[in-house]
Amino acid sequence: MTPTRRDLNDTIDAAIEAGLDQLAVEAPSGLADRTLVAVGLAEAYAPIETVIGTIWVAFNGLGVSAVEAAESSQAFEAHMHAEHGRPAHRLEALPPRLAGAIQRRLAGDRRVQIPLDLRGHSSFETDVWMKALEIPRGEVRPYGWIASEIGRPKAVRAVGTALGHNPVPLIVPCHRVVRSDGMLGQYSLGGPANKRALLASEGLDPDGMEGLARAGIRYVGSDTTHVYCLPTCHNAKRITDRHRVLFRSAAAGISAGYHACQHCRPVAAAA
């Protein structure tokens, strides 16, 4: 019996279906890693060069999650795993847009937005870090200033602890926060020498700052404007030697008839 056109079509259709059944594929295995990074269940990371040497930056789809001074990529991965329990995947370099944003931020451009992944941290810590973000390049503020500005004037020590736990130093510039007596204090990203180097790179004179602090000077005023400032405030830097007045306390400034600067808000640091 010769096959009918219909039989022939059925045979061809079966061949077509068999052909289509071959079209399943395996996903490229990098897809899983990229997906988990995108949703924030894994990190991608790469080194960047800074004035204090090689620093490791980790990020995921939610934002930058870690900035660390580690000896090696292995040491950084171990740190990430201990901190978050999430795998970290090494990149050759950061995505160009993120790398550019970080460089601009380090150069002092505070308009550039860098998303941060601060999951798992308390609102107090987050408040402290967001406040530190407001400190301009080339200026410093005491711990007590942050405490007052976030409405927790008595929490000076807790502010210090929170800054020590800052997961994204450099981006959140905790190096711009100093002890209330004006000494530079500790730094979590590789130690106090790095803090000095960073502040120097931002145009400050760490030795001069500590000299002033040792002499008990906390504030600087202008006898023309009768405004007093924190010593590194950009308004204080504009005061000429002839008109500069030094104060050991805010009270001393106020009793001399001086007003607090609107920019650095030294009153908040008086606590």
């Binding site: 061809i12 996903a27 490229p28």
Partner: protein
């Protein structure tokens, strides 16, 4: 890898990961990705024909799935129809992207840049299967079909969904899906006839004249 063993039961059938997702989404999601990504990628690849687009689509699909699941009550997660739901996401994303590509350039997000930043890791070449000529030819014939026939065929043969499940994914009655699958097969038969008549196999994704005529009806 222990993720793979956790996503399959002893007899090789996929494990039901929904209870684990409902209990702890973040802990269970990596196994879910491992279990589902190849089917999603396969669907995306056969819908678009472009490996790079398919990877983006598959990643977007899984990211959307995660974000949706993160907002669902555990009871809903335990009961959702995993594969039709994922299929609906990838088909819709592919459709939207094809439309968007016609009208405007795509914007690049930080996450999109990941693909270009070198998370290559253990990247394998895009599959041996794909290089096989026969499969390539079938993929090309499929790509030449109009989307309304291609999508049901891809979901049936690449994703392995039932007519009911395809109906859920495409929001069409199962009967319509069945008719579209049969129609799609008939169009492929015509394409084969045309190739046999012309004496060569298709080397590109351009529809043969016969198929284009059929599609226009």
């Amino acid at each position: 890898m222990d993720v793979a063993t956790r996503s399959e039961t002893a007899d090789g059938t996929p494990a039901d990961l929904r209870p684990a997702l409902a209990a702890n989404l973040d802990a269970a999601f990596p196994a879910f990705v491992e279990a589902e990504m190849s089917r999603i990628y396969g669907v995306a690849l056969r819908l678009t024909g472009q490996p790079a687009d398919a990877e983006d689509l598959a990643q977007d699909t899984l990211v959307r799935a995660y974000r949706a699941l993160a907002t669902w009550e555990p009871a809903r997660i335990r009961e959702f129809n995993v594969r039709p739901w994922l299929a609906s996401i990838v088909v819709n994303l592919a459709r939207n992207r094809a439309r968007a590509r016609l009208s405007r350039p795509t914007t690049v997000s930080l996450v999109d840049e990941l693909a270009h930043a070198g998370i290559a890791l253990h990247e394998t070449p895009h599959g041996r299967l794909e290089r096989r000529e026969a499969a390539e030819a079938w993929a090309a014939r499929l790509l030449a079909l109009p989307e309304r026939y291609r999508a049901p065929l891809v979901l049936r043969h690449v994703d392995g969904l039932s007519y009911d499940e395809i109906g859920q994914a495409l929001e069409r009655p199962a009967g319509t899906v069945k008719a579209q699958v049969h129609r799609g097969i008939a169009l492929l038969r015509l394409a084969l006839d045309a190739e046999a008549g012309a004496g060569f196999a298709p080397s590109s994704t351009r529809p043969s004249p016969t198929v284009r005529q059929e599609a226009a009806r």
